[in-house]
Symmetry: C2
Subunit: 287 residues, 2 copies
C-alpha cells in the first residue's frame, strides 16, 4: 500500500484510511501497510504505531492486515510486531535487519528468532519479507528451511520480491504449504500454478480488479490473458522509480495532487515524466 | 566507538561510559558513539537517546562527542540530531537515509536539508557520513558541494569511509577547509598531508595511543613509520567482520568476555577464529 503525505510530509491519515477501504472494496483480500511501497522505512516508529492503530479504529479489519514490522534494530521490530499482534492483525511482513551488509544466515536467523521469542505471542504469524534489490539482505533457501523448522507455527509464509522467478520457484517447490506470495505481478499465474498463496505487489494500488480477476480465474483458459492484462502498469513504467510512478497514477486517477508527495530520499516525477506516463497509460486504455 | 552489550543484548551503559572515558584518557580527541562500529542501527531510537544522555551525565564532555544521528526516516534523524545539539555535542555524524537504493542526489539533498531545517539550531554542526560499502547510499562530490553552498555554517565536514583514497583525495582537494576525516586508518597520513581533519576509525577502539602518535607527529620524519604502526590491527583482521573482530580484541585485552557480545545480525567470532586473531596479534607484539 502507498502512503499519502500532506505537504508537510506528515501521513495523511484520512486519505490513507479511505484508500485502504477502497482497495478492499475493489477486491484486495488483504492489505499490507508499511511495505517498501509504503515508504515504511521513511516513517518513524511512533508514526507506524499510531497510524496503524488509527487504521483499525477507523474500521479496517485487522484480520485483513499484514503490516510490515521489520526494522534495522531488534527492539524496534519487536515493538512494531507486538503492536500488530495486539491489534489482531492477520500477520506481519518481516524485513530482516537491513543496515549491515554481507551478514551470515546465522546472524539473520538469530535476528528473526529474537523478534519471535521476544514478541512471544501464539497469535503471531510471520511472513518473511525477501527483497534483496532494496534491503540487500534476504532469506536464503536454507535459512527459510531453518526458520520453518524452528518456528513451524509462526513462520508461515514469505513475500518474494527478489524479481527472480527461479528463486520463487525453488521456494514453492521446496516448501509446499508455505504461504509464498509473489512480490511481482509478473509471476502471479506461475506462483498459483505451483501452489503459491498469491501476490503482494505494488501495482495492486492501481489495478486491483484485474489482479483479482486473475486470482479468481487462474485455472480457466483465460488465465494467460488475465496475467498479460496485469502487466499494463509495468509496461508504462520504464525506468521510473516505482513509488513516485505509482503515486503519479493515483494522483491522476483521483485528480488529487496530494498523492504526488513522497518523502525524501524519494522524489516525485517531473512534469515531463508524468505526462509521458499518463500518455502511455491512456494509449493502453488504462485511463 | 564500540558498544558493549549485556547477555540479554541491552546496552551495558556502565562499561560503555568507562570505555568512553578511557579512550579520551588514552588520547582520542573526541568520540563518535552510534557509528557503524557502534552497531547504532541495531539500537532503537529511544536507546540512543537515553544512553547518550547518560554518557554526558556521567561526565563525558559533550564538546568531545560527535554522535551518529542518521536514520532511515527523517523524523527519527531529526529527533536524534536535536537531542545531540541540546546536549551540547560538538557535532553529529549524519548518515543519509539508507533503505532505498539508487536514489538521486536530489533526494539525498532534500533529506539532509529537511533534517537541518527541522532541527533549526544555530549550534548544529553536521558531518556527513559517507560509507557506501555499508549504507549503499552516499554523498557524491557534487552533492557535497551543493550542501556546502546551501548550509555553509552547518555542513562542516565529512567522514569518508568509502575505502577509496581517490574519493577522499578529491574531497580534500575540492573542498579545502572542509573537515574531512578519514574513515580508514590506512589514509591518515595522506589525509593530514592534504589538509584533512584527521581520522574517525574503528581501530581507535584498540590502538588509541599509536593513532595519536601519528596525528601529533605527521610532519616529522618518523611519520611513515607511525602510519605503518597503526596498520597492525588491519593486518590481523583478514576477512573477519570488523565489529566482532574488534570486540574480540577488547574482550581479550580487558579479560572481560562481556565485550564479545554483538547484536544480531552480527555474530561473534568462533573460538578458532578468536584464537587465530590473538595469536597473530601476539606475534605482532600487540599483546
Amino acid at each position: 500500500m502507498l502512503t499519502p503525505f500532506r505537504a508537510d510530509l506528515s501521513v495523511d491519515v484520512d486519505r490513507w484510511i479511505a484508500f485502504s477501504k477502497q482497495l478492499l472494496i475493489d477486491g484486495c483480500h488483504g492489505l499490507c501497510p508499511f511495505g517498501t511501497t509504503s515508504e515504511a522505512n521513511s516513517l518513524a516508529l511512533d508514526e507506524r504505531i499510531a497510524t496503524l492503530t488509527q487504521l483499525v479504529e477507523a474500521g479496517v479489519p485487522a484480520a485483513k492486515l499484514m503490516p510490515g514490522t521489520g526494522a534495522s534494530s531488534i527492539p524496534e521490530a519487536v515493538k512494531l510486531t507486538k503492536h500488530a499482534v495486539k491489534l489482531g492483525c492477520a500477520g506481519v511482513l518481516l524485513l530482516p535487519p537491513f543496515y549491515y551488509k554481507g551478514v551470515s544466515d546465522e546472524g539473520i536467523f538469530r535476528s528473526i528468532a529474537e523478534v519471535i521469542d521476544r514478541v512471544a505471542e501464539d497469535a503471531l504469524q510471520v511472513y518473511l519479507y525477501h527483497i534483496p534489490p532494496v534491503a540487500q539482505v534476504g532469506f536464503s533457501l536454507s535459512l527459510i528451511e531453518r526458520l520453518l523448522k524452528a518456528y513451524p507455527r509462526t513462520v508461515v509464509g514469505l513475500k518474494d520480491s527478489s524479481g527472480d522467478w527461479n528463486n520463487q520457484k525453488a521456494i514453492l517447490t521446496n516448501f509446499p504449504g508455505f504461504g509464498t506470495f509473489s512480490g511481482s505481478e509478473k509471476f502471479i499465474l506461475d506462483n498459483l500454478r505451483l501452489g503459491g498463496a498469491g501476490s503482494i505487489n505494488a501495482v495492486a494500488n492501481v489495478i486491483t480488479a484485474p489482479l483479482r480477476k486473475l486470482f479468481d480465474n487462474w485455472q480457466t483458459p483465460q488465465a494467460e490473458q488475465y496475467q498479460e492484462d496485469v502487466m499494463v502498469i509495468a509496461k508504462a513504467r520504464g525506468d521510473y522509480p516505482a513509488i513516485p510512478f505509482l503515486k503519479q497514477i493515483v494522483a491522476y486517477a483521483q485528480q488529487d495532487p496530494t498523492w504526488l508527495t513522497v518523502r525524501p530520499p524519494l522524489v516525485q516525477l517531473t512534469d515531463t515524466q508524468a505526462e509521458g506516463v499518463i500518455t502511455k497509460l491512456t494509449q493502453a486504455k488504462f485511463f
